[in-house]
Amino acid sequence: MRLSRTARISLGVVTGVVLAIVYLPLLVVFVNSFSTSKNLTWPPPGFTLEWWGKAFQNAGAMEAIGTSVQIAVVSTAIALVLGTLISLALQRFTFFGRDAVSLLVILPIALPGIVTGIALNNFFRTIIDVQLGFVTIVIAHSTFCIVTVFNNVIARLRRTGTSLEEASADLGAGIWTTFRLVTFPQIRSALLAGGLLAFALSFDEIIVTTFTAGPGMSTLPIWILNNLFRPNQAPIVNVIAVVLVLVSIVPIYFAQRLAGAESAQK
């Protein structure tokens, strides 16, 4: 298939227009973070740096960011371990119930968040009777983060095959050595990509979190939900959203570069 010049250009134009629309609301958020209007009227009546100063002194927001980072780090770590184990099992073995297991991994993300949310809330409160808090959020988040790691790792395992691992075993390496020196380096960038998505998923999750957080806990999305409709806080929420998008460029860029470097080697 050879695309004509017109087709290539029009595809490029469509991509450009859609990306412009995608970034338009983010631009509105960016502009509003400097606006003197507290209820986001358009066009902004004036320019101020007041919100940027206030945002970094807002104890509630800073505490919520800290909580969210901790939850996302622990959930991602658990998801990385469980997701790797389950993708190795499903890719390297055939066994009875394999299809059911792969469906089980997808289920927590495929069922609507509110279903997962009320199911876990009911489970924690009435069945095992634990206090809702940090641990229950982490359990909930890890459960639906497994799938992002699983998808990335199993796709990689499918591509790499088993010949290198067999060679390693033939040369006398035990399974731990083979995993450390052969399997792990092959799946490393897939783990990074999956882990990054898991982190983002956990960091931004609101629905399941609402049902598993309990009264005392405030993650960043919960803090945002509580402050979004308050006139004095909305501009601060905008500042934090802008900072998060800007900060997110760094890990995405490095993950991309790592993936690019690896595909260039092959």
């Binding site: 298939m1 050879r2 004509s4 087709a7 595809l11 991509t15 859609v18 990306l19 995608v22 338009l24 609301p25 983010l26 509105v28 958020v29 509003n32 009227t41 066009p43 371990v81 469980l82 184990l85 389950i86 099992a89 073995f93 066994f95 297991v101 469906l103 089980l104 289920l107 927590p108 993300i109 069922l111 609507p112 509110i114 279903v115 009320i118 199911a119 876990l120 809330n121 009911n122 459960t143 497994i146 799938v147 006398g172 035990g174 399974i175 731990w176 050595t177 931004d204 609101i206 629905i207 999305p221 945002i224 929420v237 905008n238 959203a241 998060l244 998008v245 460029i249 995405i252 991309q256």
Partner: protein
Amino acid sequence: MTSNAASPLIERAGIPPHRHTPARRVSVFLSQHARARLGLLLSAPLLWLGLVYIVALAALLVTAFWSVDSFTGEVSTTWTLDNFVTVFTGAVYQAVTLRTVGIALLVTIVDIVIALPIAFFMAKVASPRLRRILVIAVLMPLWASYLVKAYAWRSVLSEGGLLEWLLSPFGGQTPGYGIPAIVITLSYLWLPYVILPIYAGLERVPDSLLEASSDLGAKTGRTLVSIVLPMLWPAIIAGSIFSFSLSLGDYITVNIVGGANQLLGNLVFTNVGAANNLPLAAAIATIPIAIMVVYLTAARRSGALESL
């Protein structure tokens, strides 16, 4: 591997002989027993998903057969089908289910239609450098808070907002808050989740196949329909699972831009919270569960779950 018959040779090659550590012994045992290896790999994740998730879901389904004592507000564990009768015969529930499924389908179609050309441009037209920039550009909005983006659309769509400011010189006006606003905002929120699997699917379509097709005389349209689309189908369905299921359970965006409209998620949410009727909420929740199970079963036949 455990015998030392070859050890003089190994020592001459400078490779130290194996030490008989416990780790080594476990390794030898596991490499001889494939089932034990499988068991070790599967036990932790299955225990986690089974104990936490399946038990929780099953318990929720059981709760749907119970009821709430109207005096005490406590859940009473006598078995009843009342909740299901209410949900399946109530006109409100039918209307809301239809509206929810309709919106979820519309959002999914809009996202696929937008995602296809972009993913195609990224995978097959853009230079490697531009491709990397575009992937970053698609991923980045995922890091802006879901709530902030939904709220940004509320502000864009409001009267006197950006959209009206842009459209009013041409005599246009904002659709306001309602079902169009819900569809726009949800499509916007889930678009990256649809672009990424379709882009990954297109990357797996080798360029050589496309060239072969054109060498054999197929025009662009024919190549797209006969070569690209069949290979891409699983990726499209994989993407649709995200946009469909995420739309099916949403209630927060609906509250922010939906005006007075309610979706299934809102009904579940009000029954859990304000109405304090978990059994009825559980019965309503079986609707999206059933829809998603049907959807996933159909998706699995197409092989889409492999490329999720």
